[in-house]
């Protein structure tokens, strides 16, 4: 590691970089931890030199503003002293490990290595908060953002004609709706479907992120109709492009928002290709809903009656008690709900009565979760936050939209459509980012009307 940074001979550097990156892969997690810490601490910046330059700068007299035109020459002279020190200071403020990052970036396989290394750093930071390691991470992230700017990425329409080695990666990385077999994959690349990936020249054979699109007549209400619509409609009948899955493949690129640019590019490509398509929407999971709901139910049960929040309305409470048929499912609506939602195999989905009794409160509370629950001014739900910051609005909640084990475990099977309205994507994104405002369709607001009235 040291020789990869300290010498200027490219040949030696190449060998050292190879040694370092190969050696790194063989290290145990503990030793990786150690080497990353020593990188963060021992190859930081030279603070003494930085402070020396600061003192020099502060010793200079700032030029007065009014000397604008007169004495232009003298001003130029004093400015060059500022420029010189500032240039040196910028240089001195670069931690030494940036040299390693930069060299790895131009080294074959280096960009991928850096992304893998950052995945390790993020993993360590989940457990312990070390200021120097956090600084290392933030420098590396900045560099990755620069190197992976959209100008350096290539959009590729992935089809059944692509190499099997690439398609295999798509199967492996699909994180939203797992691809079960080759027929499933072929369907996702067939008529009425598209798959676009963002590729970087230095990481060949696999996309950094990819998105799956279904061309449909209407905005899809269930993932079943997206994955298993057979036979598909002919493409010229399609008026909606449904983004039903977006997966990034590199955990080390967390926080490098490639998805936003990918969606923008894909919208442009589809619009150009198929002028009939006028609606761009997602069919998205709500990964944090059930967990949030369970914690609400638990605290509602536990808290003393004085502060007890009425999570369920009277008629919802009654319907749940009726549907549970006085069995041992619980002595209150919230208790019944808790027991149903925590049952191992989601048995409630087999009982039309229970499904019907759960529907109203589950949908209502899901609306509240998406629209009102925030963390540091951003939507609590990670997928909601992703699409809202990209400029989408919340469109429609869909009941029993994902009946898979994963869908039921995440959100009791509810899915949501986020809508990208092309004429005001940026306004929507800005009002979300700056004021935390979440835009939603009137359709959606009706679900939580009462919730809104209460406020």
């Amino acid at each position: 590691m040291h020789s990869a940074m300290s010498t200027n001979k490219t040949e030696i550097v190449d060998v050292a970089l190879d040694d370092f990156s190969e050696g790194y892969f063989f290290l145990s997690p503990e030793n990786r931890h150690k080497i990353l810490l020593s990188l963060a601490k021992e190859y930081d910046l030279n603070r003494t030199q930085v402070r020396e330059l600061m003192k020099q700068h502060l010793d200079l007299q700032l030029p007065s503003d009014k000397a604008d035109d007169s004495g232009d020459h003298e001003e130029e002279g004093s400015l060059s002293a500022f420029y010189r020190i500032e240039r040196n200071l910028r240089q001195a403020l670069k931690p030494m490990y940036e040299v390693l990052f930069e060299r790895l970036n131009t080294h074959p396989g280096g960009l991928k290595f850096l992304s893998d290394m950052r995945a390790d750093i993020l993993h360590i930071l989940e457990d312990v908060n070390i200021a120097s390691l956090r600084a290392l991470d933030s420098h590396l992230k900045e560099k990755l953002i620069t190197w992976l700017s959209p100008a350096n990425l290539e959009l590729h329409n992935i089809t059944w004609d692509d190499p099997a080695s690439l398609l295999e990666k798509i199967v492996a990385y699909e994180a939203v709706h797992p691809i079960s077999n080759l027929i499933d994959l072929k369907r996702r690349l067939g008529i009425g479907r598209r798959c676009f990936g963002y590729f970087h020249p230095a990481i060949s054979g696999e996309p950094l992120i990819f998105i799956e699109v279904a061309l449909m007549k209407d905005v899809a209400a269930t993932i079943q109709e997206v994955l298993w619509d057979y036979p598909p409609i002919s493409e010229h009948e399609a008026s909606c492009a449904i983004f039903y899955s977006i997966s990034s493949t590199q955990p080390g690129l967390s926080g490098v928002n490639l998805g936003k640019f990918l969606i923008k590019r894909v919208v442009d490509v589809v619009k150009k290709d198929m002028p009939n398509v006028s609606v761009f929407a997602t069919l998205s999971p709500i990964p944090g809903y059930r967990q949030w709901l369970l914690s609400k139910l638990a605290s509602s049960e536990m808290s003393g009656s004085a502060f007890k929040e009425n999570l369920l309305r009277l008629e919802e409470e009654k319907a749940l008690m009726d549907a549970s048929g006085g069995s041992d499912m619980g002595s209150s609506g919230t208790e019944v709900m808790w027991n149903l939602l925590t049952s191992k195999h989601h048995e409630w989905t087999n009982s039309p009565n229970l499904v019907s009794a759960l529907r109203t409160p589950m949908m209502r509370l899901c609306g509240r979760y998406l629209l009102k629950e925030k963390k540091r001014g951003k939507a609590l739900d990670s997928v909601a936050n992703f699409h809202l910051q990209n400029g989408a609005m919340i469109g429609r909640l869909n009941w029993m939209a994902d009946r898979s084990q994963k869908g039921l475990a995440q959100s009791g099977g509810i899915m949501v459509n986020y809508i990208y309205r092309l004429d005001n994507i940026e306004d929507t994104a800005q009002s979300y980012l700056n004021e935390g405002h979440i835009e939603a369709s009137s359709d959606f607001r009706s679900y939580i009307e009462d919730e809104l009235e209460k406020e």
Copy 2:
């Protein structure tokens, strides 16, 4: 320009960037000058804020070195304050115009625009030295170096099958040996020839730089045999790859050394493709030689006899006087040489006697020029400096190697081979860059043996 930097709405930015870059092209040189100056001065950094952060930093106590293991926790705490201020300071040290650069870079056509804008800046700086404009230039250059890192460039083997629009650019940009017609171009892309270009995805249809290669039996001694060897040898007989032309197409990328990486990549590709090729050399012009020689001749004539440098040896002096046949060409060897080299149509090249009399002193002094004449520790000749810093050594001088008007005007027709010896390119480059040492073949040194003895 202001709105392109000040807002965060991408749509507005896009429009503003289009307006700015389109508007800029319609400006007169004077108005471009004005707008660049105002960019440099009014969108510089906020110096008051920078100094405020410096004071905060200097107020902090540097952690003592020995607190290494004990009190690790406390150290982490104090370090995070440093990291925070340093992060803010790095941000504050960025001039505002960097935002414009960054936005233009991801904007369609923006990279090309930035390169054109930098060409204007360099043009202004040739006439006047303005500290703020120089700082603007150095920031822009840094950015361009980052964005045009070899990892972002694509090597393309340009052939006769490429679009005419691309080949037309090659004809237009060829800066070393102008391409006279389509047959000439076809020859340079035909059997025994290669042309490689470096392309950037954001600047489509033209290379940033390209190199022309001839595959030959021996190291070429004249450009004529490179450009007009008909019929060519079959490629499997070739043992030498001769780089006979390298042209960069963007004046705004001056100082961004793409040539070095291009040569490295091309060597790798050719080596892989043709294992029989073992010698990699250039056939290069010596653009500054005649100008330097004329100034030496002039000062030798003008200076008083006491300090007079004996530019010519006695036998050279005599040969020149004999060949000039006592005509009115001058009363001394140096005067004859001056008159011959400044004759408008290089008439001396038609007289075997004159050619023969000029050869010895011209070659000897050319050796001295290449090996000894330096400016700030670097070779005075720009092409020499380029190849030496890339790790080549001086190989051989070639008399009457380029009989074109341009070749005669630059160097009296002399050309030089620089040799890239693959096993010590980096050592050679380092000893040149660090110690100013110029490596030369023994063949070459024999030309200037006496010159060396004198020292």
